[in-house]
């Protein structure tokens, strides 16, 4: 699994949660909130999908690592790789 795979996983989850957002131009180094309309409830949904689909648990005080696609990849790669 690569960082690109992790970014794709996160983008696929966002596509399910927010089908009305255009995800084709998302910049990996910019905060997701600054380029997409995602509120705190949407981040809860992202965390939930990570748990449901990949059994990855993200504790509340670590949500901050989900800020951008780059930080998601950094943070989730070891967790996802451990499960794979």
């Amino acid at each position: 699994m690569t960082k690109a795979d992790v970014q794709k996983i996160v983008l696929d989850i966002i596509a399910d949660i927010a089908p009305d957002e255009d995800l084709s131009q998302v910049k990996p180094d910019v905060r997701l909130r600054d380029q997409l309309e995602l509120d705190s409830m949407d981040f809860l949904d992202i965390v939930m999908e990570l748990r449901k689909q990949y059994s990855v648990h993200v504790p509340e005080d670590e949500y901050i690592h989900l800020a951008s696609l780059d930080s998601c990849a950094e943070y989730l790669l070891p967790k996802l790789a451990a499960k794979a």
Binding site: I17, D20, E37, R51
Partner: protein, 377 residues
């Protein structure tokens, strides 16, 4: 899914109305074992549906409020609800209103799904108050702010008075907002005022051609797909308390269920009445003072041509506006008129009949004294 064999749930929800269903979908999404219990055979609660003599009716639906065009940004309630329930825009099939009106003796305000229409109408009818009106709009709390606002239970009327000079304009705004959401006589809670002003006057009205059935079907489908369970024709008859907590529910079937959490959507008074023992410190909730009756009539569509184009008309045939429980069966002096054929339907959605729905304040005790066979259809 209908009910499984289990007798313990993470969450049991009392009531399969719109809020019970919405809560059920969210909880099931989060992997909770959820059961919705509903005493009626049909889902939907106050926004349910029925048929008489081959015609389909909605129990209550005049308009879905908070309508914004597809793709609207800014986290408006409709878009947030659809997203959080993962329901596609098409699934509600909302058709916007044409135009609506607030009618008082000798003066009318027009509004539609574009706020500028109302602003222009206020400016034309109440030129002295337009500045104050704009000021009021600019400081109106957002939806989220309103619900947790420190002044949420204060007088909405007093708030309007601080900005708007003309007392007739204040009453006209109150007429629309009270009928769509105040349980308080001659006034409205400040938080409700902010929420309804945005929902009705700044966002707008729409409706599925099929009425509420369409929306309930979308919610039920979603609830089923997420693995939620429900049991219909099954009332909760008691909430059993041990050590200050609800630990089990007794059902009309005689069964007893346990749940980690119980959510009730049936109203504060109704929920309080189900408690097996009343907490000593708790004051019983006070029921609202206001009730309504609605009458519905049908017309061949041709008869409605050339008449009103409005979708909703809030009216009072007297000033000052009076929003109080009447002494008679009903108070016909003010109310809401809904012409549900006057949405911007196209093609096969155009209804074959016109429907006139009139809402008026009622005196429930007077109705309860009547023999139902004298007015039943």
């Amino acid at each position: 899914m209908q009910r499984s064999e289990r007798s313990h749930y993470d969450v049991v929800i009392i009531g399969c109305g719109l809020s019970g269903l919405a809560a059920g979908i969210r909880l099931a999404h989060f992997g909770k074992k959820v059961l919705i219990l509903e005493k009626h055979n049909a889902p939907g609660g106050l926004n349910s549906f029925y048929s008489i003599a081959g015609r389909k009716y909605d129990v209550g639906l005049h308009a879905v409020t908070n309508y914004v065009p597809r793709g609207t940004k800014g986290g408006t309630p409709l878009m947030r609800v659809l997203r959080q329930l993962r329901i596609d825009w098409e699934d509600f099939a909302l058709i916007p209103q044409k135009t609506s009106r607030i009618q008082f003796p000798g003066v009318a305000l027009n509004f539609d799904n574009d706020f500028q229409t109302l602003e222009a109408s206020v400016a034309a009818a109440f030129p002295k108050s337009i500045e104050g009106f704009r000021k009021m709009v600019s400081i109106l709390p957002t939806f989220d702010e309103a619900l947790s606002h420190p002044n949420r239970s204060t007088s909405g009327r007093a708030f309007l008075k601080t900005y708007i000079q003309d007392p007739v304009l204040i009453d006209m705004l109150l007429c629309a907002l009270c009928y769509y959401g105040s349980a308080r006589e001659d006034d409205i809670d400040f938080s409700q005022l902010a929420v309804l002003f945005r929902s009705i006057l700044m966002e707008g009205f729409a409706r599925p051609a099929e009425g509420i059935r369409r929306i309930i079907r979308a919610l039920l489908d979603r609830y089923r797909q997420t693995g939620g369970e429900r049991q219909m024709k099954c009332a909760v008859t008691a909430l059993n308390i041990k050590a200050g907590r609800v630990t089990s529910l007794t059902l009309s079937t005689g069964e007893v269920l346990t749940a980690d959490t119980v959510l009730s959507s049936i109203g504060a008074v109704e929920t309080f009445n189900l408690l097996s023992e009343k907490p000593e410190a708790a004051k019983p909730p006070i029921p609202g003072a206001l009730s309504f009756v609605e009458t519905l009539s049908h017309y061949p569509l041709a008869l409605t041509q050339g008449l009103w184009e409005e979708t909703i008309v809030f009216f009072s045939d007297h000033y000052p506006f009076c929003y109080r429980a009447p002494k008679e069966l009903i108070d016909p002096g003010s109310g809401v008129i809904c012409l549900s054929h006057n949405y911007a339907f196209k093609g096969e959605d155009i209804p074959t009949e016109g429907c006139l729905r009139v809402t008026a304040l009622a005196h429930p005790q007077a109705w309860h004294k009547l023999d139902a066979s004298t007015y039943a259809v």
